[in-house]
């Protein structure tokens, strides 16, 4: 694991604490975000990641040894970042305020809509990397394994998140629709 917090040990300045949020993007998305404190968001994320893990157990065989890795996912236009630990016995997804010091093996950043489109295979991750719309540092082997594992997933993350939230699925789908439209607007 990279022993890093906000200053990347590789000398890179791409870790979340050192990145400036795009004002335009941040404001455009924040309009649709409820003022949800992270302590309330975390149980929700935990519920979602456990739902996905149960529905797609094949994810873990594709991840192989990378199930032991820690992934820092930085949606650059949101006020927090995510830590994913895809341990099949105890998968964890947690949100942290910018400024928190979290050790991680892999760092992935991009706008929320771009990351969502990549995970849901609406956009090709290689093309996003070629275009510099996403940025990756750290353990590339774990990153490639995660990308391939997610790409082999049937259905979409949006569907899974919505399904896992039962009666709240409708507003969740609406939120993701708005995010996607926001992305298209900025393109």
């Amino acid at each position: 694991m990279i022993s890093q917090n906000y200053t990347n040990t590789s000398g890179s300045n791409s870790s979340p604490g050192s990145q400036h949020l795009s004002e335009a993007h941040s404001k455009s998305l924040s309009r649709f975000l409820p003022p949800l404190p992270l302590f309330a968001l975390s149980p929700l994320l935990s519920h979602v990641v456990n739902f996905i893990a149960k529905k797609h157990p094949e994810l873990f065989s594709r991840l192989g040894e990378s199930t032991k890795k820690t992934f820092l996912i930085n949606p650059t236009n949101l006020p927090f970042f995510l830590i994913l630990q895809p341990d099949p016995n105890n998968p964890r997804l947690k949100a942290y305020n910018r400024g928190s010091e979290i050790k991680h093996d892999v760092y992935i950043s991009g706008s929320f809509a771009t990351l969502l489109k990549m995970i849901d295979s609406q956009s090709d991750s290689d093309a996003l990397f070629f275009n510099r719309e996403i940025m990756v540092t750290g353990d590339s082997e774990a990153m490639v394994a995660l990308r391939n594992a997610l790409d082999d997933m049937e259905g979409t993350l949006v569907d899974d998140v919505a399904s896992s939230l039962g009666p709240f699925s409708k507003p969740v789908r609406k939120f993701f629709d708005i995010v996607n439209k926001s992305k298209r607007h900025h393109e």
Binding site: S10, G11, S12, N13, S14, S18, R62, L63, G64, S66, S121, Q122, S123, D124, S125, D126, A127, F129, F130, N131, R132, M135, V136, T137, D139, S140, E141, A142, M143, V144, A145, L146, R147, N148, A149, D151, D152, M153, E154
Partner: protein, 335 residues
Amino acid sequence: MSEQITKPELVCPAGTPASLRTAVDAGADAIYCGFVGPTNARNFPGLNFSLDEMTKAVDYAQQRGAKLLTAINSFPTAGRTDIWKKAIDDAVSINVDAIIIADIGMAKYLSETHPDQRIHLSVQAGASSPEAINFYCDRFDIKRVVLPRILTVAEIKKVHDEIPCEIEAFIFGNIGMMAEGRCSLTNYVTGLSTNMDGVCSPANFVHYEEDKDKNLTTRLGEYAIDCIGCGENAGYPTICKGRYNVGHRAEYYAFEEPVSLNLTHLLPDLIEAGVTALKIEGRQRSKAYIRSVVSSFRQAVDAYSNGEQPDISDLLALTEGHKETMGAFPSKKWR
């Protein structure tokens, strides 16, 4: 454009079962994929098929009228041939439509052990002359050769006229080293071989660093292979696509540029030259790539076959470095 054109087979890549289903559903006539491990030339983390997944893939493809081709197209080293032989036996046991083979020893094993199995000769074998191809046809009953990307269309026509087997030609995707199957650049840096371990730039040796000005440095092992400026498009982290200070030239693409092959405009010429199968590169790419490229080429091939001009302008977004080339196919003047 003649309306009597013979419609070629569209051969598409798949790195995962989901990609395979995407390729079939997008209109692929045949899909090529490999087993997990060193027996195929795309041995990347999280990619490729277990025997169970390959069995289901054969069923999915064949039930929808598509063929499944298994790539066993790397080169075994002494003491490891059992891994390749098992992959061959497994592929035969699940009735794949063809096995794509590169190693001459494995071609012998396959043709002698499973004489009824259709064999295609991989691009990795680097057979580019009629004499070389005829040797494989005579000795191992090769039914199709995948030609290296070093021949012009005119040369492909000459090869076609002198060989008894079908020709498969790449039309889109990553464009490899000019002497395919013989690249040792990754081996030099990492100790792992593209040809014998199936890994070009193994991911655990790849590192990216972005500085405060958004300049992106790409490293393979201890070697910096490129520094991409803010606003510049990136490419794959392979030595052959890196920029180096060579003699009086700074930041020079000493081997190749990050660029993708796109032969859409040469499709009628390739078919005229005798190419029976058109191959899309990219088993390492995502479902989104597969969906977009396969459906675009499905439309293009169908349009050309009907004497129409296809619109495939949206493919540029999927090319490496946002650049495309026709490579050596129109002329040998390409670097």
